[in-house]
Amino acid sequence: MDRLLAIIAGFSILLIGVVLFNIRRAHIRVEYSVSWLSAAFVLFVLSQSPWLLGQFASLIGLNSLPDALFIIVGGLFLVVFFRFSVVMSDLKDANIALTQKIAILEYQLNALHEKPQASDRK
């Protein structure tokens, strides 16, 4: 169990480091890094506090601390993935609206360019 907690602690520190590195390099926006940093922080706290983990395990009726830890890890990442599904859906909606608007504006712009040419010919 101690080894598992140490791995989780190491993993959460690594995750925090990777996220901070990517924020610094501007590969990830700060608002989208919050979910990952929060998840990593929760994992780190739990890995450093077997008592807290035990409380959670007894709350959901589990005798095994590793099982409780895996449920927490799985749950946290599900929440993060869900949040990014929402973000992606919003971006896709915005992308489609912009694409349509560009196509319509391009059409109207071409029509405006054609109009003077037509009057020039007269």
């Binding site: 859906s89 919003d90 909606d93 915005a94 489609i96 609206a97 694409t99 349509q100 560009i102 196509a103 319509i104 391009e106 059409y107 109207q108 029509a111």
Partner: protein, 243 residues
């Protein structure tokens, strides 16, 4: 550029993706029957000469910068038609399956009935079905399913040969299903207590190309549309994500 002129102007909307083999003929047919009607082709970033053929045939063409899919294309046309002040839009497919001879019937039904949507149905009076076996099964299933939800029989729920009035145009310009939009659009209208009518039309065989709905995709189609219908029923009307 197309203009909405006259009393209660009508626009013909043709979404097209890689339809260079058929779209020119469709436009010519519409032109021959209804020379006064403006025709807008929304080219879904085709890889072939769809845009050129449509322009040469005398239509106005919008080309979206990347492939949006049918719903995104149709919505672009609805947006422009709504902005330009059109009262009615009738959508025809660019593959030649929809005979433009029925445009008049759809327009008259829109005007006379006051329904927000009129569907050209191949299953009323047995009008030339031209659909695959897999799609036929899907149609039967959705006919049954929608009869429960809409509390009204819809004979051809997957028909893309539809006319809409300005009320529906306003709704669809704001929000329109992206993939396989026909069935979800019906549910959207039902939630707004809008009405639809069906008129008999004859569907023809495609003039060129192949259908995107293959036997395997039919299963995805059914699942996708089912989910879309359920989501539309559950959707909170107060939330509007689209700008």
């Amino acid at each position: 550029m197309i203009r909405a002129t006259g009393d209660r102007p009508l626009m013909i909307l043709i979404p097209a993706f890689n339809e260079e083999g058929a779209v020119g003929t469709v436009i010519a047919e519409v032109r021959a029957l209804y020379p006064e009607l403006p025709i807008l082709v929304v080219d879904d970033c085709s890889a072939d000469g769809t845009r050129t053929v449509a322009l040469e045939a005398g239509a106005d063409v919008i080309t979206v910068p990347y492939h949006l899919g049918l719903g995104g294309c149709v919505q672009a046309g609805y947006r422009l038609a709504y902005d330009l002040g059109f009262h009615y839009v009738i959508r025809l497919d660019g593959d030649g399956q929809h005979d433009p001879a029925y445009v008049g019937l759809i327009r008259d039904t829109l005007v006379r009935s006051g329904a927000q949507m009129v569907i050209g149905s191949r299953y009323i009076n047995g009008g030339g079905k031209h659909t695959s076996f897999a799609r036929g099964i899907g149609i039967v299933f959705f006919r049954w399913f929608l009869a429960i939800i809409l509390r009204k029989q819809v004979h051809d729920p997957t028909s893309g040969y539809v006319g809409v009035n300005r009320q529906a145009l306003e709704v669809f310009a704001r929000s329109f299903p992206l993939e396989y939009p026909e069935i979800e659009a019906l549910v959207v209208l039902q939630r707004l207590t809008f009405r639809f009518e069906e008129v008999p039309v004859k569907m023809r065989a495609r003039m060129a190309g192949t259908s995107t709905i293959t036997a395997v995709r039919s299963f995805y189609y059914v699942l996708h549309v089912l989910l879309g219908v359920v989501v539309n029923i559950l959707k909170y009307q107060g939330s509007k994500r689209r700008p």
